[in-house]
Symmetry: C2
Subunit: 392 residues, 2 copies
């Protein structure tokens, strides 16, 4: 097969707020080859990611992503890896390229799996799709009372694990943050996994973050996520040395396998969180999962958007039995909820697993998406480089 077409669909809620909620817009990708199609999703920033696909070449090491993809051979996983390697080399100076490639790469796996009638996780070499404990990914409330209510609601909704993030944590006194941690634990229950996501609020300030450690420890927090900037490996390692019980987690910003490896080796994280929509897709995420296994680090997906992205993000560690927890977008906006005609529901144990169906096993509900489609047009030098394709 040869890749005949790559179509990008920019979807958005009518109103986008400053909430740290990644489900307010989406960039879906459809790849066509040999009479088959596959779907994927880029995370995030639809317009720059489209631009990185269609832009004119700047020079030999700054070519658009399209130059490495359109017309390329796609007969097996090795072809996907070859395309990814070409993007890494020929789009070396195009920073956004990894995000653009990510959705395309997922779609190529989906397409191959559908053509072979095989789920992607099996093509990766996993023997089974093991059940994962989904954690509700939630934002801290503005008050501890709100945080408590959200935690109780997640518990009532059947979640045995929850992660709270962002909100006011780190912006005021540590004692205020402690109240939120206590509230979250009270609401979700003593037997549940509770995680905390600081959204890089402390940049590289180890002391400021260390001031929150006793309260995190007292609340029995399972992991502390992204206390620092994505590249602040030294700060991660310094905090890890002071936090024997609460393990550090990070990695969502990784746009290369090397970045994830460095966060483990130099940053001493105990949980590595990979967003398949940023790191270049499923292949690089699988490479990280294997590196994590070799190091005794727990692999976790990062997913805050649709169930298409969720399925893709489960594939790399579907068969790793020890890595039990997975992120699960618990309260997505209607746009994100509309993408999958067959979302990944929790089973009677409250667990989910990557689909047994071919490819990513997600049917994109194109009719339901039509209201969210954002008409986009890019013209350069008198040529129409992009206009929103028909969604059908």
């Amino acid at each position: 097969m040869r890749i005949e077409a790559v179509d990008f669909f920019y979807l958005s809620m009518p109103e986008v707020t400053t909430d740290a909620d990644g489900s307010q817009d989406a960039l879906l990708v459809r790849v066509a080859a040999g009479g088959h199609v596959g779907w994927g999703e880029c995370e995030a920033a639809p317009l720059p990611s489209i631009a990185a696909f269609v832009c004119p070449m700047s020079h030999g090491a700054c070519r658009p992503v399209s130059a490495s993809v359109l017309g390329a051979r796609l007969d097996g996983p090795a072809d996907i890896a070859a395309i990814s390697a070409r993007v890494a080399r020929d789009s070396m100076d195009l920073l956004q390229a990894a995000h653009t490639l990510s959705g395309i790469e997922m779609a190529m796996w989906d397409l191959l799996g559908r053509q072979r009638a095989e789920p992607v996780w099996r093509m990766l070499g996993h023997r089974q799709s093991a059940p994962k404990i989904p954690y509700a990914s939630l934002l801290f409330g503005d008050t501890a009372q709100e945080t408590l209510a959200r935690a109780r609601s997640a518990r009532a909704d059947g979640f045995a694990a929850a992660k709270f993030g962002w909100g006011p944590i780190g912006t005021g006194h540590p004692a205020m943050d402690a109240e939120h941690f206590v509230a979250a634990r009270e609401g979700i229950g003593r037997d549940a996994h509770l995680m905390v996501d600081l959204g890089q609020i402390f940049d590289e300030d180890v002391e400021a973050c260390a001031a929150r450690l006793p309260a995190l420890d007292a609340a029995g927090v399972y992991w502390l996520e992204e206390p620092f900037a994505g590249h602040a490996y030294e700060a991660y390692a310094a905090l890890a040395a002071r936090s024997p019980r609460v393990g550090l987690a990070g990695g969502e910003a990784a746009h290369t396998v090397a970045m994830a490896r460095h966060l483990m080796d130099f940053g001493e994280v105990r949980f590595i969180q990979i967003d398949c929509g940023r790191i270049g897709g499923i292949g690089p995420a699988y490479a990280v999962a294997r590196l994590a296994q070799a190091r005794g680090v727990t692999y976790v997906n990062h997913t805050f958007t649709t169930h298409l992205a969720l399925s893709a993000s489960l594939q790399p560690f579907a068969g790793i039995l020890d890595d039990r927890i997975c992120e699960y977008p618990a309260a997505p906006r209607p746009l994100a909820a509309a993408v999958a005609a067959n979302p990944l529901h929790r089973d009677d144990n409250g667990e989910i697993r990557a689909p047994e169906a071919p490819g990513l096993g997600i049917d994109v509900d194109t009719a339901a998406l039509a209201p969210y489609l954002v008409d986009t047009e890019i013209r350069v030098g008198g040529r129409l480089l992009y206009s929103t394709p028909a969604l059908e």
Copy 2:
């Protein structure tokens, strides 16, 4: 002052080739505040960088760069740092943001310097603009004979230092590469600085690169640049341990200060090369220059485009007397040559220095650029988000 306008100008040669020549297009930025204007330049990929400025917000941590810049206070260097910190936080998930910000940040320094009638290097705290030895930045020929001719030509043109990069090196037998190294040395002369740039050809393959070390050493190569992928710190360190004489150089891909720090601390490079058009502008580059000084690492600019970018790239280390060598685009395309009405000519010693004139000291020749201006238009959801502004 408040930032009133940020205008992007996408310039391109009529024909762009796959040569690794970054001077084939350019993205200039003009910032206006308080009746003053300043100019900067993003490197590279004009269209995605424009898109990262104008794109609609995806969520609170994925805002367009414009959200942190337009209307912001600009009364001193601390305001520039505050704007940069806001971009880092509010555009955290927008990968291209650092490249977009880079040109804006330069323009803000230029504007402030013009308003204060002070060169940027003095605003940074340097006491003088010391002379630098410009090296001709050249590509290897397809044959060793061509490489010899280019090296002789650079010597005849008065260069006492030259760097050869890319071309066929690393794609064939080490003996073929050795012929090029010998030719380059012969052409440039025994007394000249000779550097070699491998353009990441070996990815993470230490052995393949180590096979070239004896020939590089025999040719008296001063530094070996980018043998591996930008993030391959482990490969850098492994090669450094096997190369006592030829020091490693890298860093042009750094889009954060942390990346440059890691290349020094984990990758053991002895030369750190920063592109102000990628790392977020002059402020972060200056931070790297200070980190390098503290480590005994030599700071070098990375500049393969215009003399506007060249002036910006000289500012961070203008007053560091020990860091003598600077990259100098020796054979830019006509577009890149047209940008500066007053380019940085070599003096009687063949050296250059950052201008004494206010700001970056470069007058952008808007009339000369008109033929290269690329009409660009971006529409999203029925709104015109970008169209090429008038160049005047």
